[in-house]
Structure formats: structure tokens, C-alpha cells
Symmetry: C2
Amino acid sequence: MKAQEKLQNRLNKGLHICVGLDTDKNKIPKHLTADKNGVLEFNKAIIDETSEYAAAYKINFAFYEEAGAEGMEMLARTLELIPDDILVIGDAKRGDIGNTSKMYARSLFDHFNLDASTLSPYMGEDSLSPFLDYTDKIHFILALTSNPGSHDFEKLEITSGKKLYQEVISKVNEWNVNKNCGIVFGATNLDELKENIKSFGDLFILLPGVGAQGGDLEGIVKTFRQNSNNNYIVNVSRALLYADSSKDFAKTSKRILLNYNQAIKNLD
Amino acid sequence: MKAQEKLQNRLNKGLHICVGLDTDKNKIPKHLTADKNGVLEFNKAIIDETSEYAAAYKINFAFYEEAGAEGMEMLARTLELIPDDILVIGDAKRGDIGNTSKMYARSLFDHFNLDASTLSPYMGEDSLSPFLDYTDKIHFILALTSNPGSHDFEKLEITSGKKLYQEVISKVNEWNVNKNCGIVFGATNLDELKENIKSFGDLFILLPGVGAQGGDLEGIVKTFRQNSNNNYIVNVSRALLYADSSKDFAKTSKRILLNYNQAIKNLD
């Protein structure tokens, strides 16, 4: 199934929460840490409890690569546990010269068989096109991120009067000829979302910053609704994964996810 | 040994060529491709012939990650073959929110025990500081890259009158309190190098673009000499690795490296 179709099916059901599998072996419940496959067992339990109710998964390469080859094996085995009908984003913020980006794209899509990427725009179009050439995948390009450092470069005003991240959004719209582009847009400042939402066109929007980072879910949902835009997913990682360290941790994660889903539905 | 010391020792000997280990299993000599450890044998031969005469190695994660966990194992085993007294740059163009960057930094420096990173500046200071906190390592932050897409964002003029990449250079100089910062500055346009070299301060400079990408080595060396700046390394990957597909390929790579070194020396 095309990535676009997988995501659209979930969005049509009113599902907008992306579960971030940033699994940190130091934060999983103690009863799992003794086992060398503890991370995998943790992921399996979370996936089993949430896969019906999530809009997508986002797997953060850093948390696996930290353990080298063994970690990457754990990433591959986690991916095997995820049902085929839900979008899985490989979050590694790629972007390099053409022949190198081609290799990273092969890694994400041919080796790990992921549905979507996150990309860094700094090096420009030819650093991204080897990814965008995968037309049945979705590519989320960093526009405005949710961290304090977004002031250093992303929010610089360029001579056209736009901010750098706004120029990125404009370029990504140009590059979206195959309807396979998206942007990352930080959810920590609602005013910025309101100010920019009309520029999103039909891009898919991935919003980090809700949960541990404090973004306002209700405000985000209302803003998209008011603009008749349903193409958004909101990532939650830590606040969903580590709320409970008992043996029932995954059921707690499910309850949190269902609460988010209900909060979104209540705004109908 | 500190990364800075490793690099300085080589620079003091007049060595400025960084050998890029972008090993593509489809480009190595045919007699090695049958063996599943062919990439490793290729790397071993190249390292054995070049380690005395190179300024540094740069290992490109993409070319290993493309084969997943197995590829990352090959990366780790390649690193074991490199003598401890030469700088090894882990080239993965990292940059993410703080807790994720921390994981990537652990991967590079604690797991793979590399000496240096390449980083993407887009997300700003707090996306880079988990790397910069490793003060005995060197961190090369993308400023101006050698690809056509550098026009899309890097060369945009910001309202201060500077170009975005020039603002990056200025910030990296501010962040260089521990003398562990560097920049990536594309070597394909000599005029840009001449125009900006005075802004480099005491940053370490990594210049891609010589070899397959056509940069002018002589012009680069002369420009640094004229500015009494010795803190630069010039990366060569494809032009050095794949010049010969016979069994003597590594001796050919050594000869090419020695030719580069001689060309630099001739400008004394």
C-alpha cells in the first residue's frame, strides 16, 4: 500500500496521534531492563496496544544507533512487529550530497522498508531529491522545529521579507509534484501555526512538541479544523511511552493515546 | 589522544588530504565482490596503504547503513583497522532536538569511538551542543556545501546583509569556546573561499569537492597559505578509492594520495 493511502485511511478515521518510538533502554520499566531484548519487548507491548488507535509510528534512529549494529538489528526487528497498514516514519533528519542521499534513501526504503522519512533542508533540492524520487513514500522536511535553537537560523529574516522556514515551506510546495511531501512544523507556539497554516497547501504536516515539550493539542486541532485541513499528525513520544513503569505500562500508554483521540473527537 | 592533537600532528607534517571511506560495494574491484567481507577487505587494503600519508579519514555512514545492521557491523570493523593516531570523522550530518542529539553523540563517540562529527546547523545551537560538549572531539558544522542545492537556502541573503552560510560561520566561531569546532566549506568555487577565509578564525576547515566534484586543489592550498591558515583538510573519496579495479587498487590509491601530497608540497 502507498504511504499516502496508509496515512489517509487513518486521518479519515479521525486519528491524528503519531506514536514516537524513541525507546530509551534507561527509561523502560525495570522488569524489562534485565533482558537483552528488553527494548524489543517494550516496543512489542506498546505496538500491540496502540496500533489500532494511532495515526502513524515514528521510529527515531538515534535511540537504536546508539547501540551500534546491535541497536540497528533491534530497529529492524521492531519494524517487523508493526502491522503493514499503518504509516511508519523513519526519523533520521537526512540530507547530504546526491550520491550519499541516495544511499540513505536506500537504507530507509529498500533495506528497512519504511513508509516515510524526515529530512533536513539545509543543503537544498539535490540533497533531497533522491528521497523524493520515492514517490510512494512521504517525506517530512524540517521547516520550523520546536526547540529553542529554531531562533538561530530557521527564524532569520531573509531579504524577501520571509523567514527562512517560510522559504523552506514555499520550496517544499514547489517540490510536491508527486504529492509525497510534508513538513515538520513545531507545535510549541500556536501563533506561528495560525500565521503559517495557509501556506501549507496540501503538504502533510508532522507536528512535534506536544507532551513532554508542552504544545497545546486542543489549539492545534482547532486551528487545522478552522482551516479545513485534515492532513496533520501530532507526534507524542516520552509522555506516552514512559507514563507508567509497572507491568501494565503498555495499557497505560494505550489509555493516554485514547485520551488524546477523545480530546480531538470532543472538538468535533 | 585528543582529536585536536591527532589532527594538528598531521597538519604540522604538511598532510592535508582526508581520505573519504565512502565504500560502495558496487564500485570495488570485481575480485572482492564475491566475498561477503569484500568491503572490509577493500577498506583494509586502502587503510594499510594510506594511513601514514593521510591527514584524516572520513567514514560516510550512508554507505554502511544502506546494508542495515550488517553494514553498521562493517563500519565498526573498519574503524578497528585504522591506527589510533589519525583523526577519524564520522560523517552523518547530524542535528536534532537535544535528547536525540545526545543519543547520536553517544553513538558517534561512545559506541563507535570516533574523533569527529559532521553536523547540520539548521535546528540551531541546542541541537549541536550535545556534540560540542565532547570537548576532545572536533565537530565540523555544515556552512557552504559543494552541491548545486547550496543556492536554495545556504546562499540566501538575510537582512543583516550576510548570506545564511556566513551567519552559520559567525555562530560557529561564537560556539568555539573549547576550540573543538570546525566547518564544512565546499571547495568547488575558489572565489567564495577567498571571500570568506578571513571569517574562519581558528576553526578547523573540512573542504569537500576536490576529485570527482572538480574542485581546484592548488587554488585552495594557495589561498590558505596566503592567509597563513594551516587548519584545513581536503576530502577526496571517489577519485582516490576507485581509480583502479585491478588487484593493485590500493597501491594506486596510495600513489594518487602521494601525488596530492606532492602537489601541495610543490607550492611551498
